[in-house]
Symmetry: C2
Subunit: 222 residues, 2 copies
């Protein structure tokens, strides 16, 4: 795998996540090789887009044949650096926090929430889905101790910045922010915002303006 020499569009990264989802479904169905055309059709994009996205990272296919599914899955995982475990700390054990703690897919994709934190004394010590809730003040010791690299923020918006600062001070490398607030962090810490209304509003906008969709009526969808 060539380490990205050129700049790679963030949109391409997101498409890799989609390819992975589709390829894993195909792999489960026993499909062992695929060319860019059907893969693109499943994702509702152009075949050249698929080839270009993959070519950003290296030569994963075989000319005249296509891509070997299990190998391509491994290659894409390697590009995204998700062929290893990532350990995360969750801050904010409310409804959203509990839902994420109970979301089994994270772990199945190498993304393990190893510890939960809250500042509410009534929640501290409680067991949630097998995980003890710790005081957020203990983040600074727990993060290095447990090898945690990612912080997940699920606190109410007004407490998001404090949670972010505590995670940063504890030495976190990146933050997934599920709260409805913007946060500021030093430039060596990466943040991704998760806004549940992005897709909803895109949908209501598209319905209302009758934006032409590119959906196909393929027989079996991946």
């Amino acid at each position: 795998m060539k380490t990205p020499p050129e700049k790679i569009p963030q949109a391409a990264i997101q498409r890799l996540a989609t390819y992975l989802q589709v390829l894993e479904a195909m792999d489960k169905d026993g499909i062992d090789k695929i060319s860019s055309e059907p893969l693109a059709k499943a994702c509702e994009i152009q075949p050249s887009q698929v080839r270009k996205d993959l070519a950003y990272f290296g030569e994963f296919g075989t000319r005249g044949v296509g891509y070997y599914v299990p190998l391509l899955i491994e290659r894409i995982k390697s590009c995204l650096n998700v062929n290893r475990e990532w350990r995360a700390a969750l801050v904010g054990v409310g409804n959203m926090g509990r839902a994420l703690l109970n979301y089994q897919e994270f772990r199945r994709h190498g993304f393990t929430i190893v510890s939960a934190f809250d500042c509410d004394p009534f929640k501290i010590g409680e067991k949630v889905y097998g995980l003890e809730v710790f005081c957020t003040k203990t983040l600074a010791e727990k993060v290095p101790e447990l090898g945690i690299e990612i912080g997940i923020i699920t606190v109410p918006p007004e407490r998001a910045q404090r949670a972010a600062t505590q995670l940063v001070n504890a030495g976190i490398k990146g933050i997934l922010n599920y709260s409805a607030a913007r946060i500021s962090v030093p430039e060596n810490v990466h943040v991704q915002y998760v806004n549940f209304f992005h897709q909803i509003y895109t949908l209501t906008f598209n319905i209302s303006n009758n934006v032409p969709s590119k959906a196909s009526k393929a027989s079996k969808k991946y």
Copy 2:
């Protein structure tokens, strides 16, 4: 509001959702006018991007002054068509389905899940967060009866296509698909995919490749 004569980038729609979040936080803090610069800084983009995005839809600001926050909120809601209620049906009462049924923010943003469906006889009839679970076979009668326009798919991937087809047959206009499977629908039905790994993989990629972030250290963040 001018009805979009030009084509509007989908990315612009998503940014509108972000502006809305930031503006609502500012409104709560009693800030009543804002110019493109601080709004852009809060969203970590360029001021010209904010102005361009808003100008796609009309002239919402006052030259030399800026934007009046409460008015801008209403205008943006109107652009996205979320200044009214949208009624949704949820299909698949598993962990994910229950979490969404219990997510209060949806309702607070005019997005009401009015009915839940499942094909499991053990779940049908059960009450989940005050909502009775119906058999998916009753979708065709319930959707028109309850004025439902949007379907939410939270079934396991292998049942996603069937859920989609049932929703389409019931006369749904759009689908939010939280399952890890692609679906096909007629071209008059809109689909938005929600993939929890998009942001996670973007984060692991950015951390691993040390992509420069554009985070700022502003005093109060919105």
